[in-house]
């Protein structure tokens, strides 16, 4: 068994003058305090990667900087799926008795630590060096390709996709730490600058500075525990050129594995935290995961199904699209928000019932997937 016993999240946006280690430290301190632990009690560390200051041993660089001597430590890299992949590993490590309290931490000054051009260029390198990158694609273009096909096969429109940007913004407005908190409409999304069609600026998540951490422990440290019920991964390809058919994507494989591991069904889920790097990502994943029938996720957004007071509240902090995206930490913020909701600590964002949550992370171009179920226990 394992529990998410503490969470820490900084505001996302500009943290002028803060380094990767600064942001990681701030988040780690918050998470350790939230779990009611002392630094010395942390005996495992998992961290993500940083594109600003890459290091071959980031976990131990951080451990030394932060002042802890763990018995287990290393970094993990699966793009946007890293946060949940680390959580799955931390769960495994805690469950196996290898560590008692695993600190999962990531942070990056991705916005102020480099130029926007450098950020776009670095990320575009996930393309194939010989067969894709020379053609000048960007991450939005990889997802734009997938979007064009998905819209073609399932009759989804650009206005449909815009609904997801509006929903995430509506949620972000209620969170003081969100990078973007001005209300937007479908018309605003449609009128925003084209980036890689059919995706426009407001269909894309921003680049942010931020830090996120949580503690995965063998036992609960407070009265209300958030237990990891089960998780699974799927990795079907790396490059968009090698992507399987839309009906064979990894999200469906990962969720099937996680349902089996956790012994739950989608009908048991009360809160959802789903990766939303682009509006198309969220639309596709919701449908792949079974949270909406094929081609109908946008209609469910319009009906309020995924709103804070809806049947399946989704990313109530505003997601990557509006809370922000600081690399690995971006998707970890989804888990922080989920833990706050499950423990009844989400304040003005609190949903009625978050007793069982489904989390899903996606890395690369819908290539690496991690699905996870959490359950509240008393």
């Amino acid at each position: 068994m394992s529990f998410i016993t503490g969470v820490g999240l900084t505001a996302f946006g500009r943290h002028e003058g803060s380094s990767t280690l600064d942001l990681m430290s701030r988040a780690a301190e918050l998470a350790i305090a939230d779990a009611g632990l002392k630094r010395a009690e942390i005996d495992g560390i998992l961290c993500g990667y940083t594109t600003i200051k890459p290091h071959i041993m980031l976990a131990t660089v951080f451990a030394e900087h932060f002042g802890i001597k763990p018995s287990y430590a290393h970094a993990v890299q699966v793009g946007g799926a890293t946060g949940l992949a680390m959580t799955m590993l931390a769960h495994t490590i805690a469950d196996a008795g290898i560590a008692r309290h695993v600190l999962v931490v990531s942070g990056e000054n991705r916005l102020t630590g480099q130029s926007r051009d450098a950020a776009i260029q670095t990320l575009a390198q996930v393309g194939h060096p010989d067969y894709e990158v020379p053609l000048g694609p960007t991450i939005p273009a990889y997802y734009g390709l997938v979007a064009s096909r998905y819209m073609h096969e399932f009759g989804v429109t650009q206005q449909d996709l815009a609904q997801f940007a509006v929903l995430m913004r509506d949620h972000a407005i209620t969170h003081p730490g969100a990078q973007f908190r001005d209300k937007i409409t479908v018309a605003d999304v449609m009128a925003s600058k084209p980036v890689a069609m059919p995706l426009k600026l407001l269909d894309c998540c921003p680049v942010s500075d931020g830090g996120v951490a949580f503690i995965v422990s063998r036992e609960a440290t407070s009265e209300i525990g958030v237990r990891v019920l089960g998780c699974a991964q799927a990795h079907t390809h790396q490059h968009v050129t090698a992507m399987p058919a839309l009906s064979e994507l990894g999200a469906e494989i990962a969720i099937a594995g996680a349902k089996k591991a956790a012994g739950v069904e989608i009908s048991d889920v009360r809160y959802a935290a789903v990766y939303d790097s682009f509006t198309i990502t969220l639309a596709m994943l919701l449908e792949d995961l079974g949270l909406a029938p094929r081609g109908e996720a946008a209609a469910r957004v319009r009906d309020g199904y995924f709103s804070r007071d809806g049947a399946m509240p989704l990313n109530t902090h505003g997601g990557l699209l509006s809370y922000g995206h600081c690399g690995v930490g971006g998707a970890m913020a989804h888990l922080v928000e989920t833990q706050l909701q499950m423990t009844g600590r989400a304040g003005n964002r609190q949903v009625r019932d978050a007793s069982v949550a489904l989390l899903h992370g996606d890395g690369g171009v819908l290539s690496s997937h991690v699905s996870m179920f959490l359950e509240r226990v008393r």
Partner: protein, 121 residues
């Protein structure tokens, strides 16, 4: 880049699209390797593609990744399902639709030769 024995193609500056065909299981693959990714058999055969295919997906890039690419915007990135059975990325006419039959030619982009698809006449 590609193996010294491999057939020249657009990735090495030649006006050609080359793929590999497994001598053991018959699978085709586009990304060049010294083995078949489906069955593991060594030395798949290099073959030159016809340049004919059908558009699978498109994305018109308006915000370029590099200053060099920005000089070309907007440019249409396409995925094409070739008649030989592999999928490839290339550029294409801005007005292409998914499902269009297309034929490849070659253009220069950021100082390199790249494949470019237009509707088959």
């Amino acid at each position: 880049m590609s193996g010294a024995l491999g057939m020249e193609d657009w990735t090495t500056g030649a006006e050609a699209i080359v793929y590999q065909s497994c001598r053991a299981c018959g699978s085709v693959q586009y990304f060049r390797r010294s083995f078949c990714a489906a069955c593991g058999a060594a030395e798949p055969e290099d073959k030159r593609a016809s340049g004919q295919g059908i558009v699978y997906a498109t994305s018109l890039v308006v915000r370029g990744a590099t200053p060099e690419a920005r000089a070309h915007v907007p440019y249409n990135i396409v995925l094409v399902d070739t008649e030989e059975g592999f999928r490839m990325m290339a550029h294409g006419d801005p007005n292409l639709n998914i499902g269009d039959r297309v034929t490849a030619r070659y253009v220069r982009f950021t100082g390199r030769l790249i494949p470019y698809f237009a509707r088959t006449e």
